[in-house]
Amino acid sequence: MSEDTTALPVQLQEIVEDFTSTPPSERLQLLLEFSEELPELPERYRDHPELMEPVPECQSPVFVVTELRDGHVHPYISAPAEAPTTRGFGSVLAQGLDGLSADEVRSIPGDFAFSLGLTQLISPLRLHGMTGLLARIKAQVDRLAG
């Protein structure tokens, strides 16, 4: 397993370290805290889910839309309260990616989800949901940045 995450953008690296420096038995609790911090959608998307892209890799209705403003990436993610794990993943990406440049987002390894130290606690299937979410954000960034 590759633990080499030195190339990650600093703010994302900090989140990884938050997880990996937490004892495994408390990592789910940390993910739960992230899930509670998933930012509310801005009003322009709240009533317009059709503007957002569904993420079928997640096991619950999850939507994502990415904006690029002045060279900075801003992902917006919605996930229902009854899917806290997915919300937690969304929150990690929303917080970890917000404000990065398009190139920084594109440089994040596709298997980033597996670097949080959660593979023993969460089935691989669910981690694939996070991988799908990241892939969709990267694809949206590609379209926006050209």
């Binding site: 739960l32 309260a81 009854e82 023993q120 299937l125 694939h128």
Partner: protein, 300 residues
Amino acid sequence: MGIAADPNPKFQQYAHPERLVSTEWLAQHLGEPGLKVVESDEDVLLYETGHIPGALKIDWHTDLNDPVTRDYVDGEGFARLLSSRGISRDDTVVIYGDKNNWWAAYALWVFTLFGHPDVRLLDGGRAKWEAEGREYTTERPEIAPSEYPVVERDDTRVRAFRDQVLKALGTEKLVDVRSAPEYAGERTTAPDYPEEGALRAGHIPTAANVPWARAVAEDGGYRTREELEQLYLGEAGLSEGDDVIAYCRIGERSSHTWFALTHLLGFENVRNYDGSWTEWGSLVGVPVVQGAEPGEAPGR
């Protein structure tokens, strides 16, 4: 044995009414000695966001599966797990969960492999409890560890393995509880679910397609006996006394159907093929049928 069954009139029509409890019944009996409530969810964090007061968490991935082999924990592992949750062999265990009790039924089926005598399902699961505005807490119950005995897992009665399924083609009835597109072979995963590693799409020859959710009523609980009979005896062509094997993708949705056939309709020999499509769809040389028709058993 255990606590008196829920006298709810809906359940009395079922073959084994004592295997279900209603949300009202559970609310009234919470905290009673000898009753243990277990939450088993697809979402590993849902319990932490709030659960029925006193409920214990059992996770299908980290608790019920062996971490290395694709199999369930053994007798010692199960004894260790239940002891750590303070559950005794003579406790009445009520299991509930998210997603219409998929994982709760799965956990109940695993309890059955170990022959836990009194294990019941909360009809309607988390969704019904929640819809009725019943109490949740984030407080974890204090657990006094118990000494659950080591009981060997019995894989012969309610579990089917791939070779047995292959042999059963043409003699036992198969029920494929996945969605119609999965059954027809248009896809290998449930709609909105990620790819899960089956190399071929379709179904096992002769299997009738009865998506699991058709057994579910509007309130999230099971349909009435009459409705279930119409579904399984009528549409799916099962007859009383048939030996039945149910399967899905990894065995969780088919646990929900296994419960309905065994405990609600009273079929005496229903087995869950937990290898399900993630195994069959990748096995070399086994027969697969595509399209909406069940197809024929291969000649031997």
